[in-house]
Symmetry: C2
Subunit: 291 residues, 2 copies
């Protein structure tokens, strides 16, 4: 893990722990359940991307921390709900029992609901960002989290469990379920600084290519990975008869697609020079990813 990535991740971990610190909030079980999943570690890829794109544009990354943390809340809520028995039915996540295994289904659903809601509260509360920029970011983040993003991707993913999937449909699932939130995490860091359309386009392109590369490596790790390193069950896709890049295209072709997307992402941010070093290092991390 790169030095600058690690610094940013630490910043996010500290901010999340601070915002969610046990301060006797009511109801205690709800906060306990939210803390359990949010403070369980995790790569913090989405919030770090938000800081890194802000930094790449020469702006103060600290001002976007509330938005960065909100993106992690949205990611965490989606994992809690995806893990539910009626969805992917997962027992382990980030090396620990899943939220519903510890707190029960009702509280897991409600914690997810609350994290999603809290994300928008944190975004609205962010200081030192013009309201106009906040509104733009909120709008695009909501779009990437809804029917045309996260939720839509999960709906289609569930609908095709055990069924044969065309490459186009698989791409749809991966883009919506994973790549769009990653893309908007990068784009949000730029929207919040009032970046130009042209810059937004380049950073979105970087985010989308990175998101696809990330999800294809996820598919590859489910085949080739180590459950211990992953902190969750592997070979899960095959078990659920879920289509993946390796199952549709084979392992070698999938690895090649990862590399192509990483190259495309590099090219999109070339023009930013050394300010974009963290964004570049993240591409290298995805290339070498083991969990």
């Amino acid at each position: 893990m790169s030095h600058t990535f690690d610094q940013k991740r630490k910043k996010i971990d500290e901010a999340l722990a601070h915002y969610l610190k046990d301060g006797g909030q009511e109801p205690p079980t709800l906060y306990e359940s939210m803390r359990y999943s949010v403070l369980a570690g995790g790569k913090r890829l989405r919030p770090v991307l938000c800081l890194a794109s802000c930094e790449a544009l020469g702006k103060d990354e600290d001002s976007v921390i509330p938005f960065a943390c909100a993106l992690e809340l949205i990611h965490t809520y989606s994992l809690i709900h995806d893990d539910l028995p009626c969805m992917d039915d997962d027992d382990f996540r980030r090396g620990r029992p899943t939220n519903h295994k510890v707190f029960g289904e009702a509280l897991a659903i409600l914690s997810g609901d609350c994290l999603l809601t809290l994300a928008f509260e944190w975004m609205a509360q962010a200081k030192n960002i013009p309201p106009k920029f906040k509104i733009n970011a909120i709008q695009e983040i909501a779009s990437a989290a809804g029917a045309d993003g996260l939720v839509g991707g999960q709906v289609v993913d569930l609908a095709f469990e055990g069924k044969s999937v065309t490459p186009e449909k698989l791409r749809y699932i991966h883009i919506h379920k994973t790549a769009r939130l990653i893309e908007i995490s990068v784009k949000a860091g730029a929207l919040l600084t009032g970046a130009s359309k042209e810059i937004l386009k380049k950073l979105s392109q970087y985010g989308q290519s990175l998101g696809l590369a990330f999800q294809i490596t996820d598919d590859l790790l489910d085949v080739l990975g180590d459950a211990k390193k992953m902190g969750k069950a592997v070979r899960k896709d095959a078990e659920l008869k879920k289509a993946t890049y390796p199952s549709l295209f084979g392992i070698e072709a999938s690895k090649k697609m990862v590399e192509e997307n990483i190259q495309k992402a590099y090219q999109s941010i070339e023009f930013l020079g050394p300010k974009a070093n963290t964004l570049k290092e993240i591409l290298q991390m995805v290339r070498e990813r083991e969990n």
Copy 2:
């Protein structure tokens, strides 16, 4: 139902039908499931309150329609999730089978998630409102929908099912689960017009008293009401051993509390004069409520 209430409700019904119209959006089942619950009728109390408070301040209510509709989405999402088997396990709502009965649990959860997300997207997209006012409203709506509102109320409600509840705890549940979203619906209409602190305070007071009166009549209707008129099961609270105002204080005392809260609400908006007629008519409707 009052004439002006009815006009506003019609406006909301049309706007919701327009925003959610079947335009081939992907994924179709997700939209079908959202439409099923959102376009199932309902009193539209929250969105009408938002329009009515805007009108009471002499502003153009049409500009706040997206926020008003967003409040109805939040209300609907909370009903879909509350009705799930692991929560209140309800089979009927608004006279029809509940969402999970028709679409299954996974899609019901995801539709709820999507409606909550879409609510924030609609708020961010609203035109002709200064971004600063939009941010203020988004922040307070998120707060009223989260741990310190809707979700928190449901968590405590579930935690006390079948257990003895103090009057303080019951008040906590009612305020959080019902009154806060009603309160913020009124307040939002004022926040979006940039109303003064003093006016916001009065309208919040109106909303909170109305919300409590509304929830106590809800408890009363569960004891005294007619399932056909209600469009959902009655005597449900007793069956689930849920504490209610009638079970703690008796029917007559509960009716008195409704009246006290309605009086308090009247007084809070007296100063607005005839512009607040719709807000007053809503109090009369709660007094005469049968469903």
